[in-house]
Amino acid sequence: MSVAAATRAESTAIRFSPQWITERISGVVLHIAVIGLTVAWVVPTAGLLVTSFRTPTDIANTGWWTALSPPFKFTLDNYSQMLSASNLGTGFFNSIMISIPAVIIPITVAAFAAYSFSWMKFPGRDWIFLALVGLLAVPLQLTFIPVLSAFNKLGITPDHLTSMGLPPYLGLWLAHAGYGLPFSIYLLSNFFRALPSDLFESAEIDGAGTLTVFFRIVMPLSVPAIASLVIFQFLWVWNDLLVALMYVGGQASVAPMTVSLVSLVGSYGQNYQLLTAAAFFSMIVPLVVFLSLQRYFVRGILAGSVKG
């Protein structure tokens, strides 16, 4: 039973009695509060969206809310101008090139590790796992300088990688994989451990090996957990600014959209027609992912609310 049903006191009051009137009023106040707060939360995004379709003159001279009353004059110019004047298009492709491997690598690596942490015994297992939980809180800042110098020494820089015929994103993929692992392992282990142990015992009696158990039993059962992890890691990498800035910040040809967006803020500070169009363009993919897979996203948040 939901708390909502329980908290909403059943109305036993007689119509138009003083008690009935107070209940009605508090009901109305509740709805006003809920809708008011929600509207306040939506207004900033709405303002951005409306502004991105207005002409530069209008944006500079009148508030965005005036565009909501006739005469309507909206334009798509800002979007075409934004795509030609900035490298947001390149940023978009880079974001895709960075995000997808940066999701696949840590999650596959984490799946094997999490299974081992959950259902195999080895010395130091619990201590290593405890260390991973500790690492969830460690600021990434602590790792940047040594990783950068190691990248430079090993030639894992965009230019050098391209000259060797390797994808220039390799450094970012590996870094995101490393940074995403503690959380991925933590989340998947929690899920794997919650699986009933009978499952494994009966499989062993049947003579199934570890591989069979993992690929035929554990993996199919874990699809929901993996789905929420995929969305989580994807949005994290897609929206990441800090890691990208550190490792490929100076290279627009490799940098993701967040970096091109932030440089746009620097160079077109007051040019709201460009900025708003660019910001909304950058929001499309995350919003689509969010709206279509919200359920898994929420589940991921509930399952491990410690990602740093």
Partner: protein, 338 residues
């Protein structure tokens, strides 16, 4: 826009999507093949290490070893000579405005106000939304900013805070409201360092406000789940005893949600201490809005001061340590109950 990159990049992408899982699976299967050659007794001892090795290598390579490296660098000068606490003295000297102190002060503002606002709003929204039939719709709308990047959030709020001199039409939503509803002069929000109620500079609050807007959905979702976990009988019993709704919230609901509030709170404390994106994109740390993470970036990229940047990173770690210890204790307590 150059679409030819697609032709070279897409095959790479496909190769990675198919290749990485394939290589890993081959590694595990190959490992299993080798393990089967071993005597029966050795198998369970060797197999786990094969399964965790790639993860441990990545975590060691990108998190553990670099962290140790940074701690060492923070005690050295630019040429690698040991200089003791000199870098820390540079960062922590000159209290209250020199070195890293402005950043530390602002991180403290973030720690207090960001955490409090996110928890308070999250709790308020969770409790209010729980009582309306259209809960899922309003929840989605509050939650949506969680999906977008902090950079996009900053642009949204830069526009909310937009400023025109007094007398000119205000295009920023907040200044328009300030001007037309409250009949006050417009403010420059993100440049205004004057303190609000003597507590916090307005511009720091403006930055924190933008970040709070983006993250409230997170605390709302978790607190709402905790709220729904409270047994209805309990509330019913309290109501039968004649307790009012506010008393029920204070005496029954809130105490029962306290553990969740603490868990969410510690996560938010970590977020607050690591704050970077909002500050970097909104002010780049100017107008006394700097934070440790941004200071570290500036020292590294604009001053080429690796030792100084390392010291700032270590200071950041030290501030996180209490939360880290708390998390570990929490984790062990949960483990013990298993």
């Amino acid at each position: 826009m150059d679409f030819s990159v697609l032709l070279t990049d897409l095959p790479t992408l496909v190769a990675v999507i198919v290749g990485v899982p394939a290589v890993l699976a081959a590694y595990i299967v190959g490992g299993e093949y080798l393990v089967r050659r071993l005597p029966d007794k050795a198998r369970p001892a060797v197999r786990p290490w094969i399964w965790v090795a790639p993860a441990l290598a990545l975590v060691a390579g990108f998190l553990v070893l670099p962290s140790i490296g940074t701690v060492i660098t923070s005690f050295q000068d630019k040429h690698g000579n040991f200089v003791g606490l000199q870098n820390y003295a540079t960062q922590l000297g000159g209290f209250p405005t020199g070195g890293a102190w402005i950043a530390i002060r602002d991180n403290l503002y973030w720690l207090i106000f960001y955490t409090l606002f996110v928890l308070a709003f999250g709790l308020l929204l969770a409790v209010l939304f729980d009582r309306v039939p259209y809960e899922s719709v309003v929840k989605s709308l509050i939650f949506m900013p969680m999906a977008i990047s902090s950079v996009a959030t900053v642009i949204i709020w830069k526009f909310m805070y937009a400023y025109q001199p007094p007398g000119q039409p205000q295009t920023g939503t907040l200044n328009y409201l300030l001007n037309s509803v409250f009949h006050q002069d417009p403010r420059t929000w993100i440049q205004d360092t004057s303190p609000l109620l003597g507590l916090i500079p307005i511009n720091n609050l403006a930055l924190i406000g933008a970040a709070v807007w983006g993250i409230v959905g997170f605390s709302m979702v978790i607190l709402s789940a905790a709220l729904k976990g409270i047994p209805g009988d309990l509330l019913e019993a309290a109501r039968v005893d004649g307790a009012g709704e506010i008393t029920i919230f204070r005496r029954v609901i809130f105490p029962l949600m306290m553990p969740t509030v603490v868990v969410v709170g510690t996560t938010l404390v970590i977020f607050a201490l690591k704050a970077f994106d909002t500050v970097y994109a909104m002010t780049a740390g100017n107008y006394e809005t700097d934070v440790l993470a941004n200071r570290m970036y500036k020292l590294l990229y604009f001053s080429n001061d690796n030792p100084g940047a390392s010291a700032v990173a270590v200071i950041l770690l030290v501030t996180v340590v209490p939360v880290l210890i708390f998390n570990l204790r929490q984790f062990r307590a949960v483990e013990a109950r298993r």
